[in-house]
């Protein structure tokens, strides 16, 4: 997809963006009022830009010259919003088939039966929407948009309305959707934790303009591209594999990027793929490896970046994968941390939350 959008509101707010969106999952990160939803609405056709153009491949969705405005219902863009908009008067199956039945037979590349199986929602099919949990609703919403064989997916804060425990499966599903169906996605969020967990590439939107375009990996190393407010509650959300059964001490071993971590008391099965979250403030850094401690995870790593903000420092540690640790400025000064140094991450086993609700 490529777009060049100019939209001015009476309030004076101007969205002026120009970008080529590649394959994979692209996140648009921005604060409230930065223009994220306006951008999605312009692409979906809910709002028309004042000028510019929006294309998906050869198909023109909008153009001011020559004037082309493809109606919303002909755009074939799957839109999953923060507030799940399933039709309450229909059951789950009817919701999923709603859009699928409206597209011509020859254009039905993705079959609802396949999607239902893919997202493992067979048990929900006969249920009323009101009886579903937040996570279930979000899965059904995904199934519904996939069933229209979309050319592009727009996801507006898709995890915001569900509890963190349920978010893991959605994150996994979004990644699986890309690898299975090869539908490019744009994920919009103001949560940097979600953005880094889901997207391959991040566009940073500020006051209606893209101020940066970076890969997720680079954002780990260059955290000062984003205001400290958004890093404060950062959680490292990682994909993990369960590598042991629960032992007599109620500990399960999981592997993240080839490194084994101990997790306590989680009912997960051997070989399960799960997402886990570790708060950046739950990762304690130590220059020496200590064994006289109650902490179950002492992981050797290397400091790959240090960013100092007004009230804290973010240290990116590579240990299989990159982890961000939030420490106080005083701690950063006392430890005299340097990029390239060996460091030990100390994480309590119960500080690693498994997101597989």
């Amino acid at each position: 997809m490529d777009f060049n959008i100019y939209k001015k509101y009476d309030s004076g707010f101007v969205l002026n963006v120009n970008e080529i969106i590649g394959d994979g999952i692209t996140a648009v990160f921005g604060t409230s009022g930065s223009g994220k939803t306006t951008l999605l609405n312009c692409i979906a056709g809910i709002v028309n830009p004042d000028r510019g153009k929006i294309n998906i491949g050869d198909q023109i969705l909008y153009s001011d010259h020559p004037k082309v405005i493809l109606p919303i219902h002909q755009r074939r863009i799957g839109y999953v919003s923060q507030e799940v908009t399933l039709f309450p008067q229909m059951n789950v199956l009817e919701n999923i088939y709603f859009g699928h039945n409206l597209i011509p037979q020859r254009e039905r590349k993705i079959l609802p039966e396949y999607v239902i199986n893919f997202l493992e929602i067979e048990p929900l099919l006969g249920k009323q929407i009101s009886s579903l949990s937040g996570g279930e609703k979000q899965k059904v919403a995904l199934a519904r948009v996939l069933s229209i064989s979309p050319d592009f997916l727009l996801l507006d804060e898709a995890l915001a309305s569900i509890d963190q425990k349920s978010s893991g499966k959605i994150i996994t599903n979004l990644k699986r959707i890309w690898s299975e169906f090869k539908i490019p996605m744009m994920y919009v969020s103001h949560s940097i934790s979600e953005v880094l967990a889901i997207a391959d590439h991040v566009l940073i939107l500020h006051e209606g303009r893209f101020v940066n375009s970076v890969s997720s990996k680079d954002l780990f190393l260059d955290t000062d591209l984003i205001s400290s407010d958004y890093w404060f509650g950062f959680e490292n959300i990682k994909s993990a594999k369960v590598v042991s059964q629960i032992n007599s001490d109620q500990i399960v071993e999981i592997e993240i990027g080839g490194v084994v971590f101990n997790v306590s008391g989680e009912q997960i099965l051997l070989n399960d793929q799960v997402n886990v979250a570790v708060g950046s403030n739950e990762i304690i850094l130590s220059k020496i490896q200590t064994f006289d401690t109650s902490v179950q995870n002492i992981i050797r790593g290397e400091i790959v970046s240090i960013s100092e903000f007004e009230s804290f420092a973010l240290v990116c540690v590579k240990a299989g994968e990159n982890f961000l640790s939030r420490i106080s400025l005083a701690a950063a000064r006392n430890l005299e941390l340097n990029v390239g140094e060996e460091i030990f991450m100390m994480i309590k086993s119960n500080s690693i939350k498994v997101l597989n609700g």
Binding site: G45, I72, H73, Q74, E83, F87, P88, F98, L102, I148
Partner: protein, 230 residues
């Protein structure tokens, strides 16, 4: 009870039902379209639509009847057109009675449907559009089913109001037994002629009709509620 009285009960009941059903059928598409335009499309004529939706409530029914008499009479543009082209005279026919009942009951239908539409989450309609539904399909498959309480209340409210209408219908339809004599007009006739027992029976029929209509409303609401789950 003699045969003539029985015939009046029966015929006035039938006329009332026919007039009310037709009045509701006239109102339903007009009120639905105007309510949708007013609530969803925010058209420039919204204020006019709102005024049309309220004014029959503010006017005495007799005035409405009088205005219809002027508009539909043979000397009016519409009346002369209908007479000259189709040979039809509306005044003092059950069609005129139905039209008068429709005008009087229109505000109830319009208002209830408007409230129904206002209660529909517009994001659901947008979701339908992004899933490939055009405006027409979105309206019938998403908007109307979600606004069913308002639509049903509009239908029933309008129907009941049309059943009870007297002033406007008597002016444009007169009091022709079997043609324009509705239950309220038959009651009025009976009272005027001193036949109180007939007035009581006709009133009872009106009452039973109103109760049956409300029971049907509740039954239909329950059926839809059970199906929809809300």
């Amino acid at each position: 009870m003699n045969h003539i009285q029985e015939t009046i009960y029966y015929s006035s009941l039938l006329v009332s039902l026919k007039v009310s059903v037709v009045a509701t059928l006239i109102n339903l598409p007009i009120a639905t379209l105007l309510a949708w335009l007013s609530i969803r499309r925010r058209v420039r004529l919204r204020m006019l639509i709102e005024i049309i939706g309220i004014i029959p409530l503010a006017l005495p029914p007799v005035t409405i009847g009088f205005l219809l008499l002027i508009v539909l009479g043979r000397n009016s543009i519409i009346g002369s057109f209908l007479h000259d082209i189709f040979g039809v005279d509306l005044i003092f026919t059950w069609w005129a009675t139905a039209l008068a009942a429709a005008v009087v009951s229109y505000p109830l239908v319009y208002k209830a449907i408007s409230i129904g539409f206002a209660g529909v989450d517009s994001r659901l309609e947008l979701a339908a559009r992004t899933l490939g539904a055009d405006t027409f399909r979105t309206f019938f498959v998403v908007t109307i089913p979600l606004a069913y309480k308002g639509v049903l209340a509009g239908i029933i409210g309008g129907f009941v109001r049309a059943l009870s209408e007297f002033g406007a219908t008597s002016v444009v339809g007169g009091n022709i037994a079997g043609e324009t004599q509705t239950l309220p007009i038959a009651i009025y006739s009976s009272v005027l002629s001193g036949d109180n027992s007939a007035a009581v029976i006709l009133s009872l029929i009106s009452g039973v009709l109103a109760v049956v209509t409300l029971l049907i409303h509740n039954w239909m609401s329950k059926k839809i509620e059970d199906k929809n789950g809300f």
